[in-house]
Symmetry: C2
Subunit: 150 residues, 2 copies
DNA sequence: TATTGTTATACTCTATAACTATA
DNA sequence: TATAGTTATAGAGTATAACAATA
């Protein structure tokens, strides 16, 4: 009667994997109306962070090859939502800045992403959504160095 | 003093995304010693499930184009861990079967994956690991049709 | 006429190596 | 001599279209 379902398919790991890829798709769809990809949205997010990042810093945080970041930023700079500024202290580096237009675009995108997340987590009551976030923070803090404690 | 961290970077959605991709990498690494990819491991898992699947069924469960599944199964069949059997009821279809060797390989791989998962979730106490799995099941059940209730 | 599996081809994405300018 | 950013090129991975066999 009851379906025999391999334990793998109900494991936290497998579900984490599927949740990640499905949410990635959902985000990309939610951002198409703003003509952004999830990846570009993350660039805006990091570019708007407190301390200015170089392209190499950014490539590490995105987990992307530096050569890929070049094109990514080219596109966003052409749209004037991000700016490359030479670091006076080390003139090999560019520091990435969010322009005013970039800030507005990021705000809209963040709202769209938040909506998508709300819908994705809709099956969970509010307390469980908070709990899920806390658990993910506990798991990932050590794996995302810039989230570190200190 | 305290770092200003964009709320996006501590959202459940972003962390889910990062957890998914990082765990994917970890799984692939854990399976290299068995000469398997995470994707091949999932094929073995589904091929070993109770009701026999066609290649098209499998492509839907993996979320992959059917043309990709062809090559995937070619490789596993050449290794004699999976078999294509014509469905007598509809001779266009192949039903996928796990061979005895395939079952042994899957068992080893599942153990390796379980180890990797344990390590990945090590920051969480046991109760939280159970809780995380339950939350993911609640979120994903509706999105993975074959997990359906009934 | 539609569907399953297959092949061939084109396209996208990514990684590798080599270059420049700065340090 | 090493590093940040860039370019060009080659490779891997993927999707698209067309086909054979079966329904």
């Amino acid at each position: 009667m009851t379906e025999r379902l391999d334990p793998v398919l109900t494991s936290a790991g497998y579900l984490l994997l599927k949740a990640g890829t499905q949410f990635h798709t959902i985000i990309d769809e939610a951002l198409t109306e703003l003509d952004l990809t999830g990846r570009q949205f993350l660039v805006l997010t990091f570019a708007g962070s407190a301390d200015p990042l170089s392209q190499l810093d950014l490539s590490r945080r995105l987990g992307l090859d530096p050569t890929i970041v070049v094109g990514l930023i080219d596109g966003l700079e052409a749209r004037k939502v991000v700016r490359r500024v030479r670091d006076p202290a080390d003139r090999r580096r560019y520091l990435l800045e969010l322009t005013a237009a970039g800030g507005r675009l990021h705000a809209k995108a963040a709202a769209a992403v938040a909506d998508a997340e709300r819908e994705f987590l809709a099956p969970l009551p509010a307390a469980d959504r908070k709990q899920l976030r806390r658990l993910l923070i506990d798991v990932m803090t050590r794996r995302l160095p810039w989230m570190g404690p200190s």
